[in-house]
């Protein structure tokens, strides 16, 4: 089935090229794909965009790590005691449903116009997703395995460490994958609106303001590639560590 993977993208680029060629859209607003890709290659080759790429990646990874370090243990803890989870479920669901972007002003007040506030917003939103998925995974563990361990005389701690933790992993990984994607989205958006000197988001907004349209498209393309590769990385990790999932 692998050979089918490229049909869609090739078709999209073809339509894009035809639309540009026939001038269906003003060339100024939509450069043809070869100009755009050429621009991206040039930006990467000259190193002009590397600084922005690194800044964005640093923020995304930092936000994700903070979310992971706080969210994972909290999720496990909450999932283990359903009563506690039920009592904070509303708060988690509420903030999970609140657009993270609506929280910018609040985080700006607390952290100022710094990198910290960008990372904090992204980490906060990602953390909620990790907490929710991890807790859900623990709570919905298969009862038969827990029963088996109970009959063997396992203590609560042993059941948690050897059964529940593992049972929760597939759901936890879904949470991690969503969290890294969300971190990227939020970081890029904050880079556009919270003052900074580097980052893909800033590059996009600056090239839009200065009408460097090919650069804008090239940067959007790069942000897309980064998001896709991060997703791919997590899928590969899942395949490696959760080879047993669903079996």
């Amino acid at each position: 089935m692998r050979k089918y993977t490229f049909i869609g993208p090739i078709l999209l680029i073809l339509i894009w090229a035809v639309a540009a060629k026939l001038q269906l859209v003003d060339k100024f607003f939509l450069p043809d794909p070869f100009t755009t890709i050429g621009k991206l290659v040039q930006l990467l080759g000259s190193g002009a965009i590397i600084g922005d790429l690194v800044s964005t990646l640093e923020r995304v990874i930092l936000a994700f790590i903070i979310a992971l370090v706080i969210g994972l243990p909290l999720g496990l803890l909450l999932g283990r005691t359903e009563k506690i989870y039920r009592s904070v479920e509303f708060i988690i669901d509420f903030f999970r449903s609140t657009p993270a972007t609506a929280l910018f002003p609040l985080f700006l007040l607390v952290f100022g116009i710094t990198d910290k506030s960008k990372i904090a917003v992204a980490a906060f939103a990602s953390m909620l997703i990790i907490i929710f998925n991890t807790a859900y995974g623990v709570m919905h563990a298969k009862k038969s395995r827990v029963l088996a361990a109970q009959i063997m005389g396992a203590t609560k701690a042993q059941i948690f460490r050897w059964i529940l933790f593992w049972e929760s992993l597939p759901q936890t990984f879904i949470g991690l994958r969503s969290a890294i994607s969300l971190s990227l989205v939020i970081i890029v958006v904050t880079e556009m609106f919270i003052g900074t000197t580097s980052g893909l988001g800033r590059k996009i907004i600056v090239s839009q303001i200065t009408y460097e349209i090919p650069t804008m498209y090239a940067t959007i393309l790069l942000a897309g590639i980064v998001g896709y590769l991060l997703n791919l990385l997590f899928l590969a990790a899942e395949k490696r560590f959760l080879h047993w999932s669903g079996k």
């Binding site: 038969s144 395995r145 009959i151 063997m152 005389g153 203590t155 079996k247």
Partner: protein, 249 residues
Amino acid sequence: MSTAISVQNLKKSFNNTEVFRDFSVGVEQGKITTIFGPNGSGKSTLLNILSGIVAKDGGSFQIENFDHFQFSYIFQNYRESLLPWRTNFENVALPLEIQNKSKQGIQQRVEELQKLFEFKFNWEGYPYELSGGQQQILAFIRALVTNPKVLFIDEPFSALDYENNLRLREHLQKYFLAFKPTILLVTHNIEEAVHLAQKIVVFSQRPTTVLEVIDNPLSYPRTVQSLKVEQFHQVKDKVLSVFQKAANL
């Protein structure tokens, strides 16, 4: 003969369906006892109540010197009780890890059982790579690795083809002769029930009572040949007659 498990006046209902009203039974120590009876007569429920998974509504029961570390229960859905993230060896080791046994001790015990069961496993592989029959054997070895004094088995052979079924019966007997645990086995297969047991307890329909406890005096090990002898047929016919009345056939 001393009694290993005794049940007095047990009561249990599920949503207004009365399974046990005033149920009493005794299970002798160091013997294989099988429970045979119609569908829904509470065979598995009895094992679940005795092992503490399901709460009773009334009555009482005792298991002599009950200790979780010397008790094993092989579920009917054994597949869902194996841990797919652990290798086959780690699965078998789990009960001993729970008891904080040393790695060496675990290794030794597993090798001992492997010899007895004459099965070659890829110990570094995972349960999901095994066939249903091999998974069942893995669940058996995991249950026996603690050297239990009391062993519950629920429909142990239902997922196996006849050939592997007979083979596993042979291994179970070997284990029984070597370690003499008290085995309580639930089955809806009359041949299994008679082939393995010294005592066959026949259940009635709900609310369940013990219709009769039938002895099978044939000596162990009982081979495939034992299935053909006159005495086997006599016991089996007796069980069938009691069952026939119970199931209104």
